[in-house]
């Protein structure tokens, strides 16, 4: 399995281990949470980190550690589905456009160019306002803008592949476009798609944080990492830890994905050239 070779790099192992840890802990339900994330206790508001509350409490006396863990879960859900939309739509649009060519290609590339010129955060902000903020609507709004660069990259790859011998032979043997796309194009685009997916996760997490700071985040009492950061930003001059720990969690997560994406991108770069070199 050629993809497993990536794991020979120790840094990749560390990153994957950290990401798995993030996922396990945040989806572990209440097992790992010392307190209920939304339980208020006004007597203990704005506590500094102490043994009872490892990372202190917020302005309503909610345990910050529990809130961060459940916040990671919500951010992860948003990032996962935004990435899923990104990769599916981007791959389908890109491969159909690149493979079919002609008028379909012109129409789809026109669409991509148009989306390219409209400021993405304008679309996201407007869509979240129209659909009303919520987990589902945030990832839908993010998905609507994220697929554009993916589609463009995939179209470029597929456009180079469309005259490759194995595609031509498949077509001569009477394979349908769907068969070619999923059996021949998908495996060849997989490295690119994987890198895009990995880089799209931190993008989604950061975009979600941006939306929360703008005031379009997940609705209370649920809190994503972005909501925690935006709450922390209100009072970071007095209670710096309320701002620091969510940011640290977020940055570490984003860093893991960035390093992972980088290394995977690098290990596949030589390979993707190899395919075309054969033709």
């Amino acid at each position: 399995m050629v993809y497993l070779r990536v794991f020979q790099n120790r840094l990749v192992l560390v990153c994957v281990a950290l990401i798995v840890l993030y996922i396990l802990i945040s989806f572990g339900g209440t097992v790992f949470l010392p307190h209920h994330p939304n339980a208020q206790n006004l007597d203990q508001a704005n506590l500094t980190p102490c043994p009872a509350h490892w990372l202190g409490t917020d302005y309503l006396g909610r345990d910050l550690f529990s809130r961060i863990l459940s916040g990671v879960r919500i951010s992860l859900i948003i990032a996962f589905f935004a990435t899923l939309i990104n990769v599916t739509v981007g791959f389908l649009v890109g491969s159909v456009s690149g493979l079919l060519g002609g008028i379909v290609d012109r129409f789809l590339t026109g669409l991509i160019d148009l989306f390219w010129c409209i400021p993405p955060f304008l679309i996201v902000v407007m869509l979240t306002v129209v659909l009303e903020p919520g987990i589902k609507n945030i990832f839908i709004a993010l998905g609507v803008v994220f697929w554009v660069p993916t589609a463009r990259i995939i179209r470029g790859e597929v456009f180079l592949l469309r005259n490759a011998q194995f595609i031509r032979i498949a077509r001569m043997n009477g394979a349908s476009y769907a068969q070619i796309i999923f059996l021949h194009v998908l495996p060849n685009c997989f490295p690119v798609l994987l890198t895009t997916a990995i880089f799209s996760v931190p993008d989604a997490v950061l975009a979600e944080a941006f939306l929360s700071i703008v005031g379009l985040g997940v609705t209370a009492p649920d809190a994503s990492l972005g909501v925690l950061i935006s709450d922390g930003l209100q009072s970071f001059r007095v209670y710096p830890w309320q701002w620091f720990f969510p940011i640290l969690t977020l940055s570490m997560f984003v860093l893991c994905f960035n390093i992972l994406g980088d290394l995977i991108h690098r290990s596949f770069r030589g390979r993707s050239k190899g395919i075309l070199g054969n033709d």
């Binding site: 407007m126 129209v130 940055s251």
Partner: protein, 307 residues
């Protein structure tokens, strides 16, 4: 060249038309209206509606907006009575542009310098250090950098006043915050291209001819490593010049970025549409300039741009 410019201008006009239409109708699709927060009674509301022609059919409003737009009149703000959108942009854009242009210069200079250095030393520790720094820079969002800088340099070390801008030096923290991310991106773009270029035959030939390494790197290699970075700088310039909501909020800068988001919440139809049009205009112009620059630097790019 002329045909290319005209073609691009036509396409850009089309994009502007789509953006205008999209913001115009999307804003009116949003639930709520511009006067909901003021809790006025229905009569006053009706008067306000007729004052701003909001009681007319949407198609009529759209036609009126377009005709005003052709005279470069972006209309009157609905949330700030008596102020036109043109005035608001004229007041706040210079603030954003001042900070943004400094950040642009800083990120380009820093990005190119670090990119070249990390490519030249790419297998030794300074190159790896720069690469690690850029990965870090790409992972720490600007709201973290901004608040962190304020906390350390303004609150703890008291080197800068908090949210007070009297000396030019006071702009340093927001400028640093804005340029951290783009500097990291530019560094990576230059680095990737530069490593590739430095392995080309003509570079080896230049070295063989006995040119100094400074001359080889700066005069022969760098121009060929620049296009990707220039391509990125176009949209970047637009984003930096028109201001970032988060950075302006953290640093309490009275810039354009703030109005953008708050006006969507206020359902200030004219202000949102006006700022969007303004932003899109700057974005298209700067992307266009970046493309022209790439074109001038390398005639081969003509084919890439036209296809």
């Amino acid at each position: 060249m002329l045909a290319y410019v005209l073609k691009r201008a036509g396409f850009n006009l089309g994009v502007m038309a789509v953006v205008v239409t999209l913001t115009f109708f999307l804003m009116r699709l949003l639930p709520g209206d511009p006067f909901m927060s003021q809790r006025v009674n229905p009569e006053i509301k009706a008067n306000l509606y007729s004052k701003y022609h909001l009681d007319q059919p949407v198609s009529r409003q759209y036609a009126e907006y377009l005709s005003a737009l052709s005279r470069f009149d972006l209309g009157e703000s609905l949330k700030y009575p008596g102020r036109t959108v043109n005035q608001i942009i004229a007041e706040s854009f210079p603030v954003s542009a001042a900070v943004g242009s400094l950040a642009l210069v800083l990120s380009v200079v820093l990005g190119v310098a670090m990119g070249v250095l990390s490519a030249v030393w790419h297998s030794r520790w300074p190159g790896r250090l720069i690469l690690a720094l850029t990965t870090l820079g790409l992972s720490i969002p600007n709201f973290a950098v901004g608040a962190g800088l304020i906390y350390i340099f303004a609150l703890k070390l008291k080197m800068f006043p908090v949210a007070m801008y009297e000396r030019p030096l006071d702009l340093m923290l927001p400028v640093l915050t804005l340029s951290a991310w783009p500097a990291a991106v530019i560094t990576r773009l230059i680095r990737t291209e530069m490593i590739e270029v430095l392995n080309k035959d003509y570079i080896i030939a230049a070295r063989v001819r006995g040119l100094g390494s400074a001359s080889v790197i700066l005069r022969h290699a760098l121009p060929n490593a620049l296009p990707a970075a220039i391509h990125y700088t176009g949209p970047l310039a637009a984003a930096l010049l028109t201001g970032s909501f988060i950075v302006e909020k953290i640093f309490a800068l009275p810039g354009l970025g703030q109005y953008y988001i708050t006006s969507i919440g206020n359902r200030d139809y004219n202000l949102v549409a006006g700022i969007t049009i303004f932003y899109t205009f700057i974005l298209l112009v700067s992307t266009f300039l970046a493309d022209i620059l790439t074109f001038l630097m390398n005639p081969q790019c003509r084919y890439r741009n036209e296809s």
